[in-house]
């Protein structure tokens, strides 16, 4: 070992540090919480992180109006209440909300379609931040465009606040299927694939070689039961976001712990069965095919 080398000065906000943070969350459940008390319940249930927001998506749907970044006091209260990472949402393209969230010290920013978009053309430049970003996607092209803008983690969008897993399944399958198709392409075909996907060639090529996204892929938008969470894992999600599904249910602490168990042992039906017993009321849920086009959050962002 050489003793003459001096350690180079530490470098923050690198791609490895941002993407590596998401790698640490794999196999876990990230839960929406609106109070410090809920954050503690989530942490005690084994959540790997919490998403701090003012209203869960089910309530945003019910209340209507413009949904914005949460009150900094509320976010700081949650940061102080738990030791696990805290994420918070900014509106799509609202880079000032993102600047505020970074200054509050949140661990991840979700540039989220659940809030009302602030810009109908541009997403935020995520390379401009030290804090890493997670973004939603309904298909591979959208995922790669977000990564090109600096996203360090992707979640399939699903349809938040519905308690209905059908859109989560649709979007995750879409992303996985498109990656599988890329795997079969030769180098000549990847240029045209990049054009079709409206994504940078380098990212398309990297995805084809890896057989997966270059960043961690979670599932979101509609998980309400332990079996839902395990389904998304078996379909290839590396972890799950659960929004309204926990704190809109009859017994949040019990349901949260059950979803954590089923996410870890996603391939063991006996454990999923045990986790599913006596959980009380699940959230009521909405049938997505009766949802008017304007109320489909997944259509926000592009």
């Amino acid at each position: 070992m050489s003793s003459t080398t001096t350690p180079q000065s530490p470098e923050t906000g690198t791609a490895r540090v941002k993407r590596g943070m998401a790698e640490q969350l794999k196999g876990g459940v990230i839960m929406d919480v609106v109070t410090p008390e809920q954050a503690k319940i989530a942490e005690d249930a084994g959540a790997v992180a919490v998403m701090a927001l003012e209203r869960v998506p089910a309530d945003i749907r019910k209340d209507g109006g413009v949904a914005r970044m949460s009150d900094p006091d509320m976010i700081e209260g949650i940061i102080e209440a738990v030791s696990i990472p805290v994420m918070a949402k900014s509106r799509i393209g609202h880079f000032v909300e993102a600047q505020v969230l970074q200054s509050l010290g949140v661990d991840y920013i979700d540039e989220s379609e659940v809030l009302t978009p602030a810009d109908e053309v541009n997403h935020s430049d995520k390379f401009a931040f030290t804090t890493p970003f997670v973004c939603g996607a309904t298909n591979l092209g959208e995922a790669l465009r977000r990564i090109a803008e600096g996203a360090a983690m992707i979640r399939s969008k699903g349809e938040a606040g519905t308690g209905n897993v059908v859109e989560a399944v649709r979007h995750l399958r879409q992303i996985k299927n498109e990656i599988a198709r890329l795997r079969g392409f030769d180098n000549n075909e990847l240029y045209a694939a990049a054009k079709d996907l409206r994504a940078p060639y380098e990212l398309v090529k990297e995805t084809a070689e890896l057989g997966k996204l270059p960043v961690v892929l979670f599932s979101a938008g509609g998980v309400a039961t332990p079996a839902d969470a395990a389904l998304m894992r078996q379909l290839g999600a590396e972890g799950v976001f659960v929004g309204s599904g926990i704190f809109k249910s009859g017994d949040p602490a019990k349901r949260a712990a059950a979803i954590v168990k089923a996410t870890t042992f996603y391939d063991d039906p006996k454990i999923i069965a045990d986790a599913s017993r006596n959980l009380g009321e699940a959230m009521v849920g909405i049938n997505c095919d009766t949802l008017p086009e304007a109320e489909r959050y997944a259509n926000r962002g592009w």
Binding site: M1, S2, S3, T5, P7, Q8, S9, P10, E11, T12, G13, T14, R16, V17, G20, M21, E23, Q24, L25, K26, G27, G28, E43, D44, G46, A47, V48, A49, S83, I84, P85, Q102, G105, V106, D107, Y108, T130, T131, P132, V260, K261, T264, F265
Partner: protein, 196 residues
Amino acid sequence: MTSPVIGVLALQGDVREHLTALAVADAVARPVRRPEELAEVDGLVLPGGESTTISKLANLFGMADPLRERIAAGMPVYGTCAGMIMLAEKILDPRSGQETFGGIDMIVRRNAFGRQNESFEAAVEVAGVEGAAVEGVFIRAPWVESVGARVEVLAEHGGHIVAVRQGNALATSFHPELTGDHRVHALFTEMVRTAG
């Protein structure tokens, strides 16, 4: 020489990266989630992840006691970040119900280097790893506050202990599995081979 079988505790965290690094280091690597799977490995990696989550899941699924017993009996074990926390005899400011497996006589401070905005990369000289410094990736990383007499300090950063070894137990605050440099995993694989 036969390759040792090394498990990666797969309750939560960056399991795949460790499996890859171990395979490169010429070990037979496999995920471990159940006591019967633990019984079949020669050594174990405790990956990065959320230590509170890993601790809860280990208790829930009957892994904590078998793990404590095997570590106490001398099974080689390597913990990165959250894994380092799990190997500590004591944690400063533990969350309610958070228990460690023990194995290294040290006190660890969780998230000591700060939140995600303070996460960083820096070169780290690790005793026992030949050649250039290791690329240290520190993510909401812990540091070792103090160690007992039997603990060997392998690396420091900014005046804080970030890598230690006690007998067959190895721990780093940083994540070699997130880099292409698998020399620390090679060191651990050699520890497992020697112990066997």
